[in-house]
Amino acid sequence: MNNHQKIIEYKGHLSYEEIGTLLNRMTLRLSDMGLKLPVKKRIYSVMVEILENIYKHKSDIINETHLSSFELEKEGNEFKIESGNIVERDSVDSLKTKLDLVNSLDETGLKELYKNTILNDKISEKGGAGLGIINIAKISGRKINYDFRNINGQMSYFTVNVKLKF
């Protein structure tokens, strides 16, 4: 039996309204699958943070050959979220540092980091509070797999892979 199920797939330029549409579609699909509220909320939260991250970078660079992508699939008793989007090369180092830090921490460490960040960090111009990645790690309880592929001197393609187990 094939227990590999694609729930949501998206490729293109993501608008704010489109995020809403994808979230609504995902909620309906998960309800059809008979999942309980806490499970749905966990998937929902991770999906929001990832989609909003893509959206925050959207207006900076438009590149037709490296479109933003998002995928949610179920494999056995695991949900897998994969995303890809362009980021400026200048932000690669700070993103890497943050992801490595988050991946090195256990549940207690993540809670502490979340607390310090929410109490001390300012909201950026793009509306980011620096909490998205920490939140994803907190909810997933697993390492966040990521990769940066060099496109040119200014741009990299950033892919993220998050797994949620139930």
Partner: protein, 132 residues
């Protein structure tokens, strides 16, 4: 002082802050496109409420402020501002006003419950957790 009222939208929660009754409500879903634009006016309103309403209350019986939070979802950028709202309320409490926070969560919604517990812990206030 005029109340601050915003109806809920697909992306933003309902806000009903009333200086007459001292009852504040924040309910629904929070994922504003412009999170600063949505939450900054609420924080400004609370500051004005402190300056215009609370400081003028010289009675022995200070105001009893009730904050009803009935959120169904908020993204991480919103959580930063929701924390700021409660930090303002904590200031009111530190000045001798009594602040009652009712944090509602749907039965089984661990995420909203835990978020409330985290906020209560961070601001150092006691919340009433009420399931529905």
């Amino acid at each position: 002082m005029e109340p601050y009222i915003r109806e809920a939208t697909e992306f933003t929660p309902k806000v009903h802050f009333d200086a007459e009754t001292n009852i504040f409500e924040l309910s629904g879903f929070s994922r504003p496109e412009n999170v600063i634009g949505f939450y900054k006016p609420l924080l400004n309103w609370l500051e004005k409420y402190q300056d215009e309403v609370l400081v003028k209350n010289v009675d022995f019986d200070k105001s009893i402020i009730t904050f009803n939070a009935k959120l169904t979802y908020f993204n991480s950028a919103s959580s930063k501002f929701i924390l700021d709202l409660f930090l303002e309320l904590f200031k009111f409490q530190s000045k001798g006003n009594s602040v009652v926070v009712n944090w509602f969560y749907e039965d089984g919604d661990d995420e909203i419950l835990e978020s409330g517990e985290e906020i209560a812990d961070m601001v150092g206030m006691q919340f009433n957790f009420i399931s529905y």
